[in-house]
């Protein structure tokens, strides 16, 4: 039951094969059993059971609210949740409880979805591994699945691999079958990257299609709430519910049309699939290249045109991304001064001294480093050289995509990540900045351009770990993008984690954690 998709479990709920409360309890139990993954920072057991009971009452009366009524979901801990702690995995907000729900959270709740918890992440979403949060790293559920240990002989406890990030907790929640749907946020790839490494569908919608109200910002001009599910069709369902204007977010755009179900037998014949040559980046693993070619071949065999295209400014993207990101971070983090909310230092010799020590104690070195460099980029003497230049290049990058799409390309097919998930011990050899530059390489140009992209799991690597590919589409064509993604999903035969669970190890693990 837990490994079903939303569509399947929704049907089971309606047919009475399982009740919302029973489903909720099973998810909560599984959260407890997989606590070692550190996917959740807060488990909202009481709230979840209450919501589940309400859903149950509606289902019993035969008046469910929609396809999500009674469906457990998880939310990254940078979305505000009313009366539920929202920490951004930072000491700064360790005890912060918002008084309101983010619009996307509210819309899910309005549909009767059941919030089971808040998921772990990199502090303030700054990272690509979910290893840089104040409450410990997230472990990739595939570390504990049979293929990884069998094929590498690794010991999950010492050789576990990362989830990717920064929405690693959300990806792990969906992959470990503790929730059917999770919200992530995607600023430079933070939804797609862990989606690929954890083997779940991860959608970064068109900028403005989903409200950011209540999403604690990383980079306002690039942030988009991300959707993580076990199937493309589920992602489309959730997108249909979340998209559209929000008066509380002036950057939202009207939904292009009410997103109906994706066509089951989408025809890719006569479509043009672009393969950007710049995405053959150094460090790209052979296995990922192999998957890339495999899917490209599938398209070709199905009658699609597969063309190499050029996005010439791609190479400058990551540098510009960092300048713009750090500048906005410097600005967005200014409000965390310990006065109105959040951590406040004991130092009170002066207001300035309190600010300084509050911010030193509350932020980790990654956040502090970005604040420092961001402020440097914004200094009067530097603004033109850094911020304005980066914005100009950002326009060029957006234009690259526009040119490609206006030349007849329907979607771009690229890798999501360079490789499969790294071992934690290997990943932490490098500093956060270097890792972000490596990990976000294929994902962040899309955020610079504001266009939609989705990562679809395609296969397990030789190490038994998921590999995902990314599809990029023109702005507001999220539905077409998902239709193509579903076409891939139907053909790649990506295994469910439940099919390859290493029972003995998992049971041992569960027992240890239960003790």
């Amino acid at each position: 039951m837990l490994s079903l998709t939303i569509r399947e479990v929704s049907l089971a709920l309606r047919e009475g094969r399982i009740s919302p409360t029973e489903l909720c309890r099973r998810c909560l139990n599984r959260i407890k059993k997989t606590r070692h993954l550190n996917a959740y920072l807060t488990v909202t057991e009481e709230l979840a059971l209450k919501q589940a009971q309400e859903a149950e009452a509606r289902l019993l009366q035969g008046v469910p609210k929609g396809p999500l009524d009674g469906i457990p979901f998880a939310v990254k801990d940078n979305f505000c949740t009313e009366n539920v702690k929202t920490t951004c995995a930072s000491t700064m907000l360790r005890d912060y409880t918002p008084p309101y729900n983010a619009t996307v959270v509210q819309r899910l709740m309005d549909q009767g979805a059941v919030l089971v918890g808040k998921t772990n992440m990199d502090e303030f979403a700054m990272g690509a591994g979910s290893t840089d949060g104040a409450f410990g790293p997230v472990k990739n559920p595939w570390s504990y699945a049979a293929p990884y240990s069998e094929q590498t002989g690794a010991e999950p406890d010492s050789d576990w691999v990362i989830t990717g990030g920064s929405s690693g907790g959300s990806a792990a929640a969906v992959a470990s079958l503790t929730s059917y749907l999770a919200l992530g946020s995607d600023t430079g790839g933070s939804t797609r990257n862990p989606g690929a490494l954890c083997g779940v569908v991860a959608l970064k919608p068109t900028y403005g299609l989903l409200s950011r109200h209540g999403l604690i910002p990383l980079v306002n001009s690039m942030d988009v709430p991300g959707i993580m599910t076990r199937s493309v069709s589920d992602a489309a369902t959730v997108l249909g519910i979340l998209q559209g204007l929000d008066v509380r977010d002036s950057t939202t755009i009207p939904a292009p049309s009410s997103l109906t179900e994706l066509p089951e037998d989408f025809d890719v014949k006569n479509m043009c699939i672009g393969i950007p040559k710049e995405y053959h980046a150094p460090g790209l693993s052979e296995e990922v290249i192999a998957q890339w070619s495999r899917v490209a071949d599938m398209f070709e065999r199905a009658g699609a045109r597969v063309e190499q295209v050029s996005l010439p400014h791609t190479q400058y993207s990551i540098v510009c991304y960092h300048v713009l990101c750090h500048a906005e971070v410097a600005s967005n983090m200014a409000r965390f001064d310990g006065l109105e909310y959040g951590h406040r230092s004991e130092v009170n010799s002066s207001t300035e001294a309190m600010y300084a020590s509050t911010r030193h104690e509350g932020f980790n070195d990654v956040v502090r480093g970005r604040i420092l460099s961001g402020n440097y980029f914004l200094l009067k003497q530097n603004y033109q050289h850094y911020f304005v230049k980066a914005q100009k290049v950002r326009r060029l990058i957006a234009d690259d995509f526009k040119h490609v799409f206006s030349s007849g390309v329907d979607v771009l097919l690229t890798p999501t990540t360079l490789t499969d998930a790294a071992r934690y011990s290997d990943f932490t050899q490098e500093d956060n900045r270097t890792r972000s530059a490596q990990e976000d390489i294929f994902t962040q140009p899309v955020n610079m351009a504001g266009i939609p992209a989705v990562s679809v799991p395609t296969a397990l690597s030789r190490r038994g770990l998921p590999i995902g590919l990314q599809l990029i589409g023109p702005a507001i064509q999220d539905k077409k993008l998902l239709s193509v993604a579903q076409w891939i999903e139907q053909r790649v035969g990506f295994p469910s984690i439940s099919e390859c669970r290493n029972d003995t190890r998992m049971i041992e693990r569960e027992q240890t954690s239960a003790v």
């Binding site: 918002p98 008084p99 950011r212 509380r248 002036s250 200014a334 409000r335 603004y383 911020f387």
Partner: protein, 545 residues
């Protein structure tokens, strides 16, 4: 920075001093605002021909006008003065993480309307920026303002002041308006030095402001005061800002420097903490004199921020809080460009005209501006320009004047003196009026109908001012001030005067008719000015012929 913390305590102090004059029956309010108390120190014409030119003041102003709107610039919190601390604070105002600004259309319309009234070019597209600085009453750590492209630019304000020998000549001047930008107000910090605590009130945080930048086209406190007064009148006429300086709805910072005409501008100081127009004039003139004496002593003027101390009448250097400020401006990413449309025809298809800001519609709705009102008063009532200038400059005086006119048949140009001289003269001394327009009208009617002489009328007016609530008739009756028209009584008084002044009578009989006036005067002295002058003249003429 939108606000200075020093202003907070000063504000409270001034609230008590606020002076209101109520005229209950006419339901109009008059507040004394002095714009004519100081004079320019350095008039260019005063300089000697060959000697080195004198130093003259150069004054520019930065004015923050609080937009008169029900809710804040980017949130739905109500805007109200003197509400309990932190009672008007939304999640956005307190910068809770994840909250976003949503622009208030009313504030945009107010800025456009103000821009049009000041002959500005309205930018069809303007942008919002973040201005960063750490301060306890700025919860987000930045203020949303319009640094790169403000909503209105390149305007001008024409203002007048009374000049000439008798200060009865209306002199028109113009100051250029560089720009009007929309921005958020900050909260207020109250420093408790005893317990070394800072208390924060966020009620004001996020209230919409229009920052108006006036070019350094003025030369003294009086000009600056007159310009600000004119702006205040315009804003009040438009309803875009209530303009009350003591409540902080209008905050004026002055950039002051001195130079010799023709030479480059001198180093300027910024004078803050000015909360009335009277203080503005004094602060600027003090600062000009201070800079002149610094230079004359061979010193140099420091580029600094100074606070005006209304008690001592001096400007004093403000402690520089953080040394060199770099505001690290950045585009506000959560607000799309602000677009206003020229007219309904230029609206893109599908746009709701009610949701859009249309310049033409706002232009059509512009009310009568003070300058037009002054011209109208001159034309309608046949009064002099300096009279209409005074009428319009004093809050409620036009309404007062018109209310008096309604209740009397006396000609407007005969009434005006009573309002601009008698009433205003008393107001300047006492700041409190108890004479309602109908009460004044009654007095003037009595005079017009010949019940009292004009000199008695002035006497009665003073008495009315002193003994609040008494009508003119009551006072005349009580003090027996009515005109003596009893012919017999007057005959007897006149006879007495004629009898005791034989020399004068002789002179008159010899043809010196002017001497008659002396006799009339003596009769009036006898009657304490109550004798009917026409009758007295007749009787005396008869008795001396």
């Amino acid at each position: 920075m939108a606000a200075s913390s020093v202003a907070a305590s000063e504000l409270l102090h001034n609230m008590n001093k606020q002076i209101w004059i109520l005229c209950p029956k006419a339901s109009c309010i008059i507040r004394r605002i002095s714009t004519t108390s100081s004079r320019c120190y350095s008039q260019p014409q005063r300089r000697a021909k060959s000697a080195p030119q004198q130093l003259v003041g150069v004054v520019g102003l930065e004015i923050h006008a609080q937009i008169n709107s029900n809710t804040k610039l980017f949130s739905g919190s109500p805007v109200r003065f003197s509400a309990p601390p932190n009672s008007l604070v939304s999640f956005f105002d307190s910068s809770l993480p994840g909250t976003l600004p949503v622009l208030n259309r009313r504030c945009v319309e107010a800025a456009v309307m103000t821009g049009l009234a000041l002959n500005c070019t309205i930018n069809r597209k303007s942008l919002f920026d973040r201005k960063h600085y750490f301060y306890a009453d700025l919860p987000a750590g930045y203020q949303i303002t319009q640094q790169r492209r403000p909503i209105a630019v390149d305007g001008e304000l024409t203002y007048s002041l009374l000049g000439g020998k008798n200060r009865n000549q209306v002199i028109r001047k113009t100051v250029n308006i560089k720009q009007i930008q929309l921005e958020q107000d900050s909260g207020k910090s109250l420093h408790d030095d005893v317990h070394s605590q800072t208390l924060i009130d966020l009620n004001r945080a996020g209230v919409g402001l229009m920052e108006l930048v006036m070019e350094p086209d003025m030369s003294c406190g009086e000009e600056a005061a007159a310009a600000v007064r004119e702006l205040q009148l315009i804003l009040q006429a438009l309803g875009t800002c209530q303009g009350n300086m003591s409540e902080g709805q209008l905050r004026v910072d002055a950039n002051v420097s001195v130079h010799r005409p023709g030479e480059p501008l001198g180093i300027r100081t910024e004078v803050k903490n000015i909360n009335s127009i009277r203080y503005l004039a004094r602060a600027i003139d003090y600062e000009i004199q201070r800079q002149i004496s610094v230079l004359q002593r061979g010193g140099t003027v420091q580029n600094e921020t100074r606070a005006y101390d209304s008690k001592s009448g001096e400007t004093i250097p403000m402690r520089d809080k953080e040394g060199l400020q770099d505001y690290r401006f950045m585009p506000e990413p959560n607000l799309p460009p602000l677009i206003v449309y020229g007219d309904n025809a230029s609206l893109p298809t599908g746009t709701d005209a009610c949701q859009a800001v249309v310049v033409q519609k706002i232009r059509e709705g512009l009310p009568e501006l003070p300058s037009v009102k002054r011209d109208r008063l001159v034309q309608t009532y046949g009064i002099l320009p300096e009279h209409s200038f005074t009428l319009v400059n004093e809050d409620g005086l036009v309404e007062y004047f018109e209310a008096v006119l309604k209740a009397t048949k006396k000609e407007p140009r005969k009434v005006i003196g009573w309002v601009t001289n008698e009433l205003l003269g008393h107001l300047k001394q006492q700041d409190m009026s108890v004479i309602s327009p109908p009460a004044l009208a009654e007095l003037l009617e009595l005079q017009e109908k010949g019940h009292i002489s004009s000199s008695v009328a002035k006497q009665v007016f003073q008495e009315m001012w002193r003994s609040s609530g008494k009508t003119a008739s009551q006072i005349i009756q009580e003090q027996d001030l009515g005109l003596v028209s009893d012919t017999a009584q007057l005959h007897s008084i006149c006879q007495k005067v004629v009898d005791s002044n034989p020399d004068e009578v002789l002179a008159i009989r010899n043809g010196n008719k002017k001497v008659l006036n002396r006799l009339i005067g003596l009769v009036q002295r006898e009657t304490k000015g109550r004798a009917d002058p026409v009758l007295v003249k007749e009787i005396l003429q008869e008795k001396t012929s």
